[in-house]
Assembly symmetry: C2
Homo-oligomer: 210 residues x 2
DNA sequence: ACATATCTGTTTAAATTTTAACATACTTAA
DNA sequence: TTAAGTATGTTAAAATTTAAACAGATATGT
């Protein structure tokens, strides 16, 4: 939309959800305005960094006043794309897939869960969150018929790449990958990895006395 | 252990699990040696970065030869602390908690699942992975009796801080936090956040055409 | 209305992270 | 045994990220 938004540094991008969460909390508390200094206390980022981050999207603050919580919240939502609705499917409805479904339900309008897929016969046909679980065989056909923006990939490592290929072929724009493997995908399909076991390993490194 | 290891850059630390995974794959394939160049093709990091990363831990390569896969694998395991066994409990045995339990089972010797806790009466007393789910009320007592290294925090946002306080008080060294909130903890207790909804938001940002 | 304090946007500097370059050492094959 | 090729460790440069500094604009209290 805005033409300079391509240049938003990766580091800034990854902080946006945290800003949004903080602002949502403040809004809920009835806070109307906030300064970079107060937000710094709240978030643990330096006030300087907050001002610089927010400035990538244009001046939303006012000197001597601060930032309007409501307005800034809306703005960041728009930047992240949460002001629109994105269709989501979940492939692999094990524990992780169901946990993911719960997260998706938490958003009022930003996401719409449109499909669940699994290959386990016992699961096919049952419902999760009011949505029927379809057979994995139906995935390709489903993607032809329906426009899917995001797929949460909650299958095991072995089948991850195969499923990912089908998702890419079917026109999915982004994959939230929970399988602990690195997917090879065509240009244009975005991937966000959530390699849980790696977080555990990093934590283990941190607690190992050294 | 090594006295300069405190200086390992954060960015390097966070890449270690990925190195370990790649080396494990190679070992499984029977590859004995690997050069930084080949590893670069495999991982997508530059060869230069790989050499520089690995050098933080001492020279494990050999000029004209490369790196011994087996030896390097062992070394990184040791650096991460995976050559020892760490006790783990999971607090909150919903879908996420059970998924987490599965991950832990995947490690042969590095982790030992020693306890599961939940407050839902229907769950208490049932077993997951051969471990009985205890009542949340027993948590403090359990921590007094047992030495717990890591806790996976899989409870809802509302109770996360309260539980985290008990964990810290009980001597837990690290918390893998799945609750989408920022925990306030005493110095010395490490936290690794896995804020799944934030990954989804970042992915949404990436796919939003701009 | 005015002075003082507040707070942003922006510029400049520091720190961190990544990439490139290269000298040196080892391997391999003839 | 020797020469050519390979590949590391290390140093230097570039890029990115974070922090500090400050000028200018707004708010607030008297």
């Amino acid at each position: 939309m805005r033409d300079d938004s391509k240049k938003i540094p990766v580091a800034v991008k990854r902080r946006l959800p945290r800003y949004l969460r903080a602002l949502g909390d403040l809004k809920k508390k009835g806070v109307e305005k906030i300064s970079s200094g107060s937000l710094s206390d709240y978030l643990g980022y330096t006030a300087s960094q907050i001002r610089q981050d927010l400035n990538h999207f244009g001046g939303f603050g006012q000197q001597g006043y601060g930032y309007n919580v409501e307005a800034l919240c809306k703005e960041i939502e728009a930047i992240l794309g949460l002001d629109r609705t994105h269709s989501i499917i979940i492939v692999g409805v094990g524990h992780l897939g169901q946990a993911m479904a719960n997260y998706v339900e938490g958003y009022e309008k930003s996401y719409e869960l449109v499909g669940l897929f699994d290959i386990k016969p016992a699961l096919i046909g049952t419902e999760v969150g009011g949505i029927k679980i379809r057979s994995g065989d139906e995935l390709e056909g489903f993607l032809k018929e329906n426009s899917v923006d995001i797929a949460a990939l909650c299958v095991n490592v072995e089948s991850a790449q195969t499923v990912a290929d089908k998702l890419a072929e079917g026109g999915v724009k982004g994959i939230l990958n929970f399988a602990v493997t690195d997917l090879d995908l065509p240009e244009g399909v975005k991937v966000e990895n959530v390699h849980i076991s790696e977080f555990l390993e990093i934590l283990t490194f941190d607690i190992s006395d050294r």
